[in-house]
């Protein structure tokens, strides 16, 4: 199968406009003849379901949580980018496009990124019209801030709860369509398979998580808006329930997986406190604007924050300021994360585990006074104290990197369709737009862009080619999928081994973090592959899932998800092995400059990797989508 990006012809800035005109339309009276399934109700899913319902399609929406409002988009803190140029500081659609392409280290499709920048302005209008209470200036107009080292102030925000407010906006639009009868909502329902009929995605099989009933739903198209797969690392900033199962089931049914090794590791998270740790909490990276990152020049075992003051100034290593004099503590996420890992690997990490570095506000408090620092970061300092019990006004914070976002995901063409006709992927679940590294405040933008302003147009182009006839869920394709799902559940319940699901998940996380995390090497990745294969064998021999399949059984849910994560982990390792260059969040130790900085290899790797599933225990087949850069010049990042 040949990958076709379906990128429209013509100049970059006109592609989307022309494409919108060239696409087929579905007559308003005929829209009600088409059914669309939307899986996931985060920013992408809720906005898509609502917008498609408004257009007149019959939508069925599914989420595994008890309410669509719980989707993990709700936890995004910082903000949402848009090229409004309200600040008159030189922003434009082209600049947002350029920053996103460059920030992604030239591994994203130009046309998609430009469209994202174009529609970003409409997102803000839409959210304000819904009653999203964005931050405002005293004059009543919208406030902006600069975010993640951006040179312009284009980030809109609602305190530290931007994701929450945007999601509640999309949730309200979704509720309106539920009330209108255009969206039927299925809470606590988990997708367990995608059904293909005559080569097209025509439905899904879900498990009702309360009753355990396996049910089929048919439709003319299926949208996966199921988020990222950061929980393959066990510990991440994702919600506990975030999982790859929907995307992975789709992958096994023919959807290629794009750039699975591209994961983003966020430098400022609260460190792990012990083996019981279940998730990691992000602290906004705005803290690096005033905090100084350091470790002792000579390692001190178990150094506590309260003892930091004992380390004399000349015995401290402000390693980011030392290595990157011009950017200092504000180097991009991947650089800051990697350097924290290096100093900890050298035995200079702090805290009980030695896996942390100090983020010190002493100088900022001396310079600006406590009141100023409190006004800027008060809520973050409180949150830190609540979780760790330490007071960051008196002693430095301890931070460590954590997995935060996955740029990889299902490969999609310009219309957001996967390699399976009629199966779409939106938001973090797809691979597009962010390349090898995502800029701060761009995840919310992409989720809403896909759901509000891209899919409502592109889905019509596909549906217009389909007959109105519905397919029956009595068809053998559905029965076969249902049986497969039931067999797998029975298998999981029948193993009755000795270990809890979490133990396997934690072990997988250790392997991924150690060998496929911030720094990756050929030898390490090969070792990881063997270890993951062993873990997979162990899991299917020794996992203990109690209870039955006919009730609320959270261990069973977890077991299915972890089984999929294990398989995905192996593909991530394969992808990381294949990509023998360093780019964005993917750092290959073999591909570094003389002073240890990332070295991209554009001659060999200027492509998106799309992996095709070839059957159980078969190596996946790599397809390459060459990335053509007609508008930007490829440069090597430097923060020295």
């Amino acid at each position: 199968m040949k990958l076709e990006s379906k990128t429209p012809e013509g100049p970059l800035a006109e592609k989307w406009t022309k494409h919108k005109f060239n696409m087929k339309l579905v007559n308003p009276a005929n829209k009600r003849k088409y059914d669309v399934i939307v899986v996931g109700t985060g920013l992408a899913g809720a906005s898509a379901a609502a917008s498609l319902g408004e257009l007149g399609y019959n939508v069925k929406a599914f989420c595994f949580q008890d309410s669509p409002r719980r989707a993990h988009s709700i936890a995004a803190q910082g903000g949402i980018n848009a090229a409004k140029n309200y600040q008159n500081d030189g922003d434009s659609v082209y600049r947002l496009f350029y920053d996103t392409i460059k920030g992604g280290d030239y591994r994203a499709r130009e046309a998609n990124v430009h469209r994202l920048a174009e529609v970003s302005v409409s997102i803000i209008d839409q959210c304000v019209a819904q009653g999203v209470p964005f931050a405002r200036e005293y004059g009543g107009l919208l406030a902006n801030r600069s975010f993640g080292g951006s040179q312009v102030s284009r980030t809109f925000y609602a305190r530290g709860q931007t994701g929450q407010q945007l999601l509640l906006g999309a949730y309200s639009a979704l509720n309106r369509q539920i009330a209108n009868g255009k969206v039927k909502m299925y809470n606590r329902s988990e997708l367990l398979d995608v059904v293909i009929v005559d080569g097209k995605a025509r439905g899904i099989v879900v498990r009702d998580l309360i009753t355990g009933k396996i049910e089929s739903h048919s439709a003319h198209a299926v949208l996966l808006c199921t988020g990222g797969y950061g929980n393959v690392f066990y510990l991440s900033t994702n919600a506990k329930g975030s999982n790859v199962t929907a995307a992975w089931r789709a992958h096994k049914k023919g959807a290629f997986f794009g750039n699975p090794c591209f994961t983003q590791i966020h430098p400022t998270c609260i460190p792990v406190s012990g083996d019981h740790q279940s998730k990691l909490t992000l602290m906004s990276e705005s803290l690096r604007n005033d905090g100084r990152v350091w470790v002792p020049k000579v390692g001190v075992k178990g150094l506590k924050a309260s003892e930091a003051v004992k380390i004399k100034e000349e015995d401290r290593d402000y390693f980011l300021e030392r290595r990157y004099p011009s950017f200092g503590n504000l180097v991009p996420r991947d650089v800051a994360s990697r350097n924290a890992k290096y100093v900890c690997d050298e035995g200079r990490g702090v805290g009980a585990t030695g896996l942390a570095v100090f983020l010190d506000f002493t100088d900022a408090i001396k310079r600006d006074g406590k009141a100023v620092i409190e006004a800027k970061y008060g809520n973050l300092f409180d949150m830190y104290q609540q979780i760790t019990g330490d007071n960051p006004y008196e002693a430095p914070m301890m931070i460590y990197p954590a997995v935060h976002y996955t740029m990889g995901g299902l490969w999609v063409d310009y219309n957001l369709m996967t390699t399976v006709p009629g199966l779409y992927a939106l938001g973090e679940a797809n691979f597009s737009d962010h390349g090898a590294n995502r800029l701060g405040a761009s995840a919310l933008m992409q989720g809403l862009a896909d759901g509000y302003f891209v899919i409502p147009y592109t889905i019509g182009d596909y549906l217009a080619t389909l007959p109105y006839e519905k397919v029956s869920t009595d068809r053998p394709e559905f029965k076969e999928a249902e049986n497969g799902v039931k067999e797998r559940i029975d298998k999981l319940l029948s193993i009755k081994g000795t270990k809890a699901v979490d133990e396997f998940h934690r072990e997988l996380g250790h392997i991924m973090w150690e060998y496929c995390g911030m720094s990756r090497s050929d030898a390490g990745l090969r070792k990881a592959k063997v270890k993951i294969q062993e873990l997979r064998t162990q899991f299917w021999k020794d996992v203990n899932v109690l209870g039955s399949g006919n009730e609320l059984n959270m261990e069973l849910e977890k077991a299915g998800r972890v089984a999929d994560f294990i398989e995905l982990g192996e593909l991530m390792v394969d992808d990381a092995l294949n990509r023998a260059e360093s780019c964005g969040g993917h750092f290959r130790e073999e591909s570094a400059t003389a002073d240890g900085e990332a070295q991209r290899k554009d001659d060999e790797f200027a492509y998106a990797a799309a992996w095709e599933y070839k059957g159980d225990n078969q190596p996946e087949q790599l397809h390459k989508e060459e990335l053509k850069f007609e508008n930007v010049k490829l440069t090597q990042r430097s923060y020295k």
Partner: protein, 256 residues
């Protein structure tokens, strides 16, 4: 730390529940409350005993999914979500009682898991502005005074966890409902449907079987997001004004 846990176990909605006592010997003060339960569950699984079911997701205090009634207080002793409560808030040797939210509008699903779909239905009754995607004016066309925007944001910060209902002796949902009504009553975007919204959301709230407000302020005291009781006062004004002007207009439909 060692703890004695008295946990509500209930096989399903229709089963009779009971308290079961567990001794938990492996508690660290750094654990979150939910991590403490994770460790208990792993130990139970190792002994082939069914783990305790409880709702949780983001574990950073924002999704509103976690919901435990701990020692007679929703989300436990601190004014935070259960996921943000750490074991250092308890002392060694303590006995902790853990129950699900208690309200007839939130039926128990299993163990500590309850059904909060009533909250969704109240939002579906009118917790939105009737705008379609696209075709809206530029975001800066309508200036909104910072003070109003901030106040709307204070109300909008509600996470829909249901602690207000669980805290209230009448199982009233008025803090939850008033937070959404307030957000839209304060913003210009919410003005057009202001009265209709108040009527519809209150009607749905009553239909779900939530109790009345008797001004005990328990909801405000327990709300992990600090939603203020003044929202309830505003909701009452909105509702009264809506009823006085008898806004109920039947849609005649039609036209060309």
């Amino acid at each position: 730390m060692k703890l004695t846990l008295k946990i509500w176990r209930q096989k399903s909605k229709d089963d009779k529940g009971f308290f079961k006592t567990y001794v938990h010997n492996h508690v660290s003060p750094d654990m979150s409350f939910l991590e403490m339960l994770d460790v208990l569950n792993t130990e139970l699984i190792k002994k082939n005993e069914e783990p305790v079911h409880f709702d949780h997701d983001c574990r950073e205090g924002i999704c509103g999914m976690c919901s435990l009634y701990i020692n007679g207080k929703p989300h436990g002793p601190l004014q935070t979500t259960t996921c943000q409560l750490h074991m250092r808030s308890f002392s060694d040797g303590e006995t902790i009682t853990i129950e699900p939210w208690r309200a007839s509008a939130f039926p128990v699903v299993k163990d500590l898991v309850v059904d909060r779909a009533a909250f969704d239905r109240i939002q579906q009754a009118g917790g939105y502005v009737n705008v379609n995607t696209g075709g809206v004016p530029d975001a800066n066309v309508i200036p909104i005074a910072k003070k109003l925007a901030d106040e709307a944001m204070d109300a909008a910060a509600c996470i829909g966890c249901g602690a207000c209902v669980a805290a209230c002796k009448n199982a009233s949902a008025m803090l939850f409902v008033s937070a959404k009504i307030s957000q839209f009553a304060l913003l210009p975007q919410g003005q057009v449907e202001r009265k209709e919204r108040a009527e519809k959301m209150v009607a749905q709230m009553d239909a779900e079987g939530f109790g009345s407000c008797t001004n005990t302020y328990a909801c405000e005291a327990e709300c992990p997001k600090g939603i203020k009781i003044t929202n309830i006062a505003r909701m009452n004004r909105e509702y009264l004004s809506a009823m006085l002007s008898s806004y109920k207009i039947e849609s005649k439909g039609g036209g060309d």
